[in-house]
């Protein structure tokens, strides 16, 4: 188990290194200058140089690359005496830094990763992520929860009543759900439930996780605003889960051990819940984990339409404005989450199906 974890963590480290390298190269190969984006129409050479100096973009590319790695890494090297040195250990940037091994004017430091400040707003990237990410997690989590609960129930029922009316209807609806583009579904659902039927549903077309009153006195959690985006986002995974559960259940139901269970005189309920369902869940978990992981990267269309300012909106906005630290920070954070989810899913496989051994 430990060996497995260490191996996966090493792969995860390589993934992060790959992401940093690719994003860094892309931002420097493509035409576009963040300083120019910050300055707008009045982009004279002096201001561009001042901004590039401030952003550390006046240095050679390799230096910039290693500076970023040094900032992001938990273990890093910093100057500890000269405040004008670029590598100076500035406590406002490198919070909770601990000096490990000093050598001359420099020291090896243990610190929290420093993801820098947004070029555009000068806001800390960690602050942007900690604000946007919970929203995305909540939206993705609730959407998947809705899809899994309804999807598995419908899938199981459809498998039990194979070729019956319910089965046929669920097949048609799931095909419809899979083919419905999310941006269209989002607009349609917003219009129907939050505009036409707004009187009855009491839902609004948009709204964030928190609502603030007009005088700034109160800020409260407004989970009501989550219902429509989560429903919209859940439609596609729901359709997929119904199909997967149904076919996987049919597959398991035709196996010998089910016949044995029936011969033993177990109740149909017991057979389905204890024997069939548990064994039929592996493909569903694969689909759910993959889907959940991709939803963590933000559901751009749905977030835009419902004004749910999660990771998707943040990253599209940052790409448009050429805001390198935000794009890099968010992508790295997403990569870390994906690595963790994958490790977690591998462990879950083993727990559900003892035939799979972690190695």
């Amino acid at each position: 188990m430990l060996q497995f974890l260490l191996k996966r963590l090493f792969y995860g480290f390589l993934v992060l290194l790959g992401v940093i390298t690719v994003v860094f190269l892309l931002f420097n190969v493509l035409p576009g200058d963040p300083a120019r984006m910050m300055l707008g129409q009045r982009a004279d050479i002096n201001s561009i140089e001042a901004i590039n100096k401030d952003l550390g973009r006046d240095k050679p590319l390799t230096t910039q690359y290693f500076n970023y790695l040094n900032d992001f890494s938990i273990l890093s090297i910093h100057n500890i005496s000269d405040t004008n040195n670029y590598w100076y250990l500035d406590r406002t940037k490198y919070t909770s830094a601990i000096k490990l091994i000093p050598f001359g004017n420099y020291a090896l430091i243990l610190k929290m990763p420093y993801m820098r400040r947004s070029y555009q707003s000068k806001r800390m990237v960690t602050e942007i992520i900690t604000e946007a990410f919970p929203k995305t997690v909540l939206l993705a989590g609730v959407a998947m929860l809705f899809a899994v609960i309804i999807g598995v129930i419908v899938g199981v029922l459809a498998a039990i009543k194979k070729d019956g009316f319910f089965d046929r209807i669920s097949l048609v609806l799931s095909a419809f759900g899979m083919s419905l583009p999310s941006f269209f579904a989002a607009i349609l659902i917003a219009w129907l439930f939050a505009f036409v039927l707004a009187k009855y549903t009491g839902l609004s077309m948009f709204g964030s996780m928190y609502t603030v009153d007009d005088f700034g006195n109160g800020e409260y959690l407004d989970l009501k605003n989550l219902i429509l985006p989560a429903f919209t986002l859940g439609i596609r995974p729901l359709a997929v889960i119904v199909e997967l559960t149904r076919s996987s259940m049919l597959d398991v139901l035709s196996q010998d051990f089910i016949r044995t269970a029936k011969a033993k005189g177990l109740s149909p309920y017991h057979i389905i819940t204890r024997h069939t369902l548990k064994n039929a869940m592996n493909p569903v978990i694969t689909a759910v984990s993959g889907w959940l992981a991709s939803l963590m990267a933000g559901a751009v269309f749905v977030e835009y339409v419902f004004d749910w300012k999660g990771v998707g909106v943040v990253i599209v906005d940052a790409l448009e404005k050429y805001d390198f630290p935000v794009v890099m920070g968010v992508l790295l954070f997403i990569s870390i989450i994906l690595v963790i989810i994958n490790i977690f899913v591998d462990i879950l496989y083993g727990m559900l199906d003892p035939r799979i051994r972690l190695s």
């Binding site: 009045r42 406002t92 806001r123 609960i149 964030s208 007009d214 004004d307």
Partner: protein, 542 residues
């Protein structure tokens, strides 16, 4: 599992309950939306309209503009300019205080001349890297320091290298707002979300991306008659991105004011002539006036660039033929619902005092003249010219396609290349594109701002001359205008320069933009101005 489901259910039931009602009907709150978002409340970064608007409520500078764009006193009660136009001496009011804050131990502090010296030096500080550093390009440097001098607490002196009549207009920009050094010492870069100024409103709460609330500054120094400003109790700014949703909120009356118009609801709100749809007259009003923004297409003029080697736009006749070759009036009617004025005159936009329809003649729709120009240049019906590529961003594709279609009729083949904004900007700045779309919004209300785009020492990347237009006569008049303090003589110079630009055709001016403000009927005192600056201190809500 059952317990888990129950918890989720409870959570939703809880969420759908009514929230405590914070609405206070006796207090007046002005609500508007910023789809573009606000990136900083630090005036040193007030580059975009959304940041400028909110900074205008939070901060004050030495001077301010009135609705006719005339410079009026603000924190400076009065000022004098030396005869050579190089020294400006301001007298600071003695009754202006910063917002109450914890940095002043829950009290306040009087504004003194040194605060301006500090604030201005911060704008030009390379470490701050403010996008507004250019505004002090004309300020003299003495021993490596900018000549901002506080003679005493109430006298501030600024020395310039040379006379520059629009300088007072520059000082009205939000970059030149006064801030207390204590706030920067305490907050550092996080001053962006902890602004302390002298403005009519002060920050109450900023939940980024959700809401920004400003409350009335009860100690504000300006009065209207005998009443202390502002009238409003609060300003609440939301950040809904989708413009259609904003429109629906405005229709419902949940937003008091909306600026500009989006293509998605343009025809619902406006008639083809750009007037408010009569069915909305009882609900809200439309305030409209010229906006200091010129929309144009531009050519790269510097033939030393290899991009122009075989490019038809290097010929003046071709540039003029393009200018004559499409109907700006129809373009505005069909594509913009007549929001804006077809640019039949110069590059200087309608709304500036030096805009002159008599002295400056531009281009109108004359397809025959266009054909003749091409024929005289040896390209009858566009033969032998090849394709001309016009680079644009997606938001102006409709205009470019219209022009492309009309120019086909005179034999000019235009290819349209759509680029992301960052790429286009970079390529233009590096002079890689021979024909591109651009726009220029006035930084300060003086035509010099527009003409500086054609002054040869301003070739990009040093300055904003993106076309690399160079004309000795133009440069000569530009220098003369810099030293001319008499407005009417200076405006005359501006018109001469504008006419030179039109004759040489480094640009195809499309239209002069228009400010559009939709305001609920219960709002009073919200005027408008050609800079499209939002000033809320005199606004009343019923």
């Amino acid at each position: 599992m059952q317990r888990f489901c129950f918890t989720i259910l409870c959570l939703f039931l809880f969420a759908s309950c009514n929230h405590p009602d914070y609405k206070n009907n006796t207090k007046k709150v002005f609500r508007y939306n910023e789809s573009a978002g606000i990136t900083s409340l630090d005036p040193a970064f007030s580059k975009d309209q959304s940041n400028i608007w909110v900074c205008n409520q939070l901060f004050n500078g030495l001077v301010q503009l009135d609705e006719q764009l005339k410079v009026q006193p603000c924190i400076a009660s009065h000022w004098s300019i030396s005869a050579d136009g190089k020294t400006y001496t301001f007298t600071i009011r003695k009754d202006v205080y910063f917002h109450k804050s914890t940095i002043f131990k829950d009290s306040t502090r009087k504004v003194v001349a040194n605060d301006f010296v500090y604030s201005f030096n911060r704008i030009v500080d390379e470490k701050i890297a403010s996008p507004g550093a250019w505004i002090f390009n004309y300020v003299k440097k003495e021993n490596g320091k900018y000549a901002f001098i506080a003679r005493n607490d109430s006298i501030l002196e600024i020395k310039l290298n040379q006379s520059f009549p629009p300088f007072l207009g520059l000082l009205s920009m939000q970059y030149c707002s006064v801030i207390p050094h204590e706030a920067i010492d305490f907050y550092g870069k996080d001053f962006r979300k902890n602004p302390i100024g002298t403005g009519a409103f002060q920050l109450k709460l900023w939940k980024e991306g959700v809401k920004l609330v400003l409350l009335k500054n009860t100690n504000y120094f300006e009065f209207e008659d005998t009443t202390r400003l502002p009238y409003l109790d609060a300003i609440a700014i939301t950040f809904i991105i989708d413009k259609q949703s904003v429109f629906l909120e405005f229709i419902k009356g949940n937003i008091d004011f909306m600026s500009g118009i989006d293509a998605s609801y343009k025809d619902e709100l406006l008639t083809v002539n750009g007037k408010l749809n009569p069915k909305y007259k009882n609900k809200f009003q439309l305030i409209s006036q010229p906006y200091l923004n010129t929309e144009y297409l531009a050519f790269l003029m510097d033939t030393s660039h290899t991009e122009l080697n075989n490019n038809p736009v290097k010929y003046k006749a071709v540039r003029q033929a393009i200018n004559y070759g499409f109907d700006r009036v129809k373009m505005m009617r069909y594509l913009r619902n007549n929001i804006g004025t077809p640019a039949l005159y110069g590059f200087i936009p309608k709304g500036l005092p030096s805009f002159d329809t008599v002295k400056v003649k531009g281009y109108d729709y004359q397809p025959d003249k266009s054909r003749k120009l091409l024929a005289d240049a040896g390209f009858a019906n566009g033969e032998g010219l090849g394709d001309i590529t016009l680079s644009t961003t997606a938001s102006y594709l409709d205009l470019c396609k219209y022009i492309q279609n009309q120019l086909t009729e005179i034999g000019l083949k235009i290819k349209i290349d759509v680029n992301p904004p960052a790429t286009l900007r970079e390529m233009i700045a590096k002079s890689k594109i021979p024909f591109f779309r651009g726009s220029w919004i006035a930084d300060y209300p003086d035509a010099e701002n527009y003409l500086s785009l054609f002054y040869s020492p301003n070739f990009c990347p040093i300055g904003p001359n993106y076309t690399h237009f160079s004309n000795k006569n133009f440069d000569l008049i530009y220098n003369k205008a810099q030293n001319e303090v008499n407005d009417s003589i200076r405006y005359n110079y501006y018109n001469q320069m504008d006419q030179i630009i039109m004759n040489e055709a480094p640009v195809v001016v499309l239209y002069y933009d228009q400010v559009l403000r939709f305001v609920q009927n219960n709002i009073q005192g919200l005027g408008s101005n050609p800079m499209n600056l939002l000033t809320l201190k005199k606004v009343k809500k019923q």
